[in-house]
Symmetry: C2
Amino acid sequence: MNKPDEHADQEAPQHTVSIAAVAKRAGVSIATVSRVMNSVSNKASQETIDRVRRAVLELGYRPVGAGRALRQGKSRLVAVLASNMLNPSMAAIAAATETALRSAGYVMVLCDTHDDPKLQDEYLLEMRAQYACGLVLLGAVASDVLRDCVSAGESLVFVNRRNPYGGGRFVGVNNAAAGAEVATWLVQKGCSNLALIHGSVASSATADRVAGFRAGLAALGVELVNNRVFGSNVLDHLQIGYEGIARITGSGGLPDGLFCTSDLIAYGVRRWLEEQRAEVNAIEIVGFDDSPMNPWIAPWLHAVQVPYSKYGNAIVRALASKDEQSIILEHGLVIRPR
Amino acid sequence: MNKPDEHADQEAPQHTVSIAAVAKRAGVSIATVSRVMNSVSNKASQETIDRVRRAVLELGYRPVGAGRALRQGKSRLVAVLASNMLNPSMAAIAAATETALRSAGYVMVLCDTHDDPKLQDEYLLEMRAQYACGLVLLGAVASDVLRDCVSAGESLVFVNRRNPYGGGRFVGVNNAAAGAEVATWLVQKGCSNLALIHGSVASSATADRVAGFRAGLAALGVELVNNRVFGSNVLDHLQIGYEGIARITGSGGLPDGLFCTSDLIAYGVRRWLEEQRAEVNAIEIVGFDDSPMNPWIAPWLHAVQVPYSKYGNAIVRALASKDEQSIILEHGLVIRPR
DNA sequence: CTCAAAAAGGAAAACGTTTTCCTTAGTAGC
DNA sequence: GCTACTAAGGAAAACGTTTTCCTTTTTGAG
């Protein structure tokens, strides 16, 4: 911490130092400054470049976003539309995305759509008005403006949940394969009374996890009867787990192996079991996401581990890529010893 | 879901509909359109206003942010600089803030400073370049540019952690009072072997909680000896709790009452206790924040409840207010029965 | 009826960039 | 000594707003 008095070194910039100021200081035109800033080749001698660079440093110049955006017809803003920011896995993705975007020179605008098509539309329109140069949908929901954006060929990246209108860039894990792996592990572990609790299948991620789990069981010749499955469209996954395990247990006793399509569902399950004073350790519970807090708050939970910290870079890569590729990241299956 | 064909109602706008288009359609000048949009009084007849409004609706016009920002010298972007977005309580504040900002017509830019002064400076400069009209600091750290912003009188709101340079708008709870309440409750509960585990006191929030707790005990004539206190600057609060309870127990046995300055610290404590197979229910543990997930994942934890969902509106109010007022929100003390 | 003030609204400047034209001076190939 | 071509760089337009002037018309007070 240096004393407030001796800050006469280069703290002059104060507020808005424009390209014109830099040009004047370097003794060149604003066009040249702009070209140096954007490293346009063959438009300035090395000497000029150095002079401009020096002026930029001395004045602490940094291009005003609005000017550039207005001229180019697009800003450096990337909008991230999350369906529910209170969900820890969303927050993890948002955090990783922010870091990756920032180091790629973008600025993240974060919006919470609460899984509401109307609100999503509002945000999409607003971001268009802000000249956002990219849209990241963390759990997209079908909506009119989204369809519009898709068909207009805007720069969209769908994360975890696929484009409800098909196609488009996608970043996520292989949910179906993960579901199947869970099935295999539970069966090999010797569980004979399996159950499944899942959230809304309007999410392609959830739907794939469920389908993969069922397919995995089918491949092993294991049957999953209907009263061993609970699904709900409720947004609060904790609630789903709590209610789901109650229902399942009520109509056929405690299972000995359980797949929950999210960690939160598993937390809800555990809560009910503890309230019932059930023999919790007799049940193998597998969640999905594997929150970094799990080793601390849920050491009893196995989980498909989604590499959220790697999502950021993947999303930036997807945004930058020209073709509509899907980026499938590798998941893991974390088994926690009792 | 309506069929893709019959969308000829008013889906024409496609991409960029500018103020000029609206003006043309309404048969007025762009100046008039602008004035109607910003409801400048005495500049348009009711009839004109209606005509413009109709044109706006029909074309789906919405002012381009960059144009307005450039002209006015400030955008509608509000930057939220969070010290650690993976902390659930930060995420909760961010979510509430986003909603409140949005409904007040602002757009939230979320940045994760990782509690790093250099990164915070980078963000502050970048946001200045983006003409951000407000800065919300969720856990500010002392840094050169921040000092600059403070003395330049920029629109700053400090949340939870106070301005390291003094003054400024502040939103938070009365941490000292809350700490004292915890002390009182623990003593009244009959605990005689108290302990305290806290994070970095560089955060004014933590410092106040600790000071309040100590003052509360002192007022009751209870002494808190040094080997019953553990503090650490480590960022990971889970780790602090885990290590803290180990140290404290090692140098004086298990406490029967414990105050942790964050929920996460308490989670870490619980983990260690369970690993040691300690009689966990013999200890009254009080956390701070009271995450909405606590009833589910930590029903054993008492906690000072911070009304994070109310932070959003308070922050917007603070941003809008002319004078540098502090907004102190009411906290609670949630006691969970065993 | 006169005059001032208010209402209504248009033309154009300004904001800070990027980029399209230009112009000039070298330079390589013949 | 030409002719092309490239390097180097400036002037000015353009992006979409808001706002300052300015003009014309209407209103109200005397």
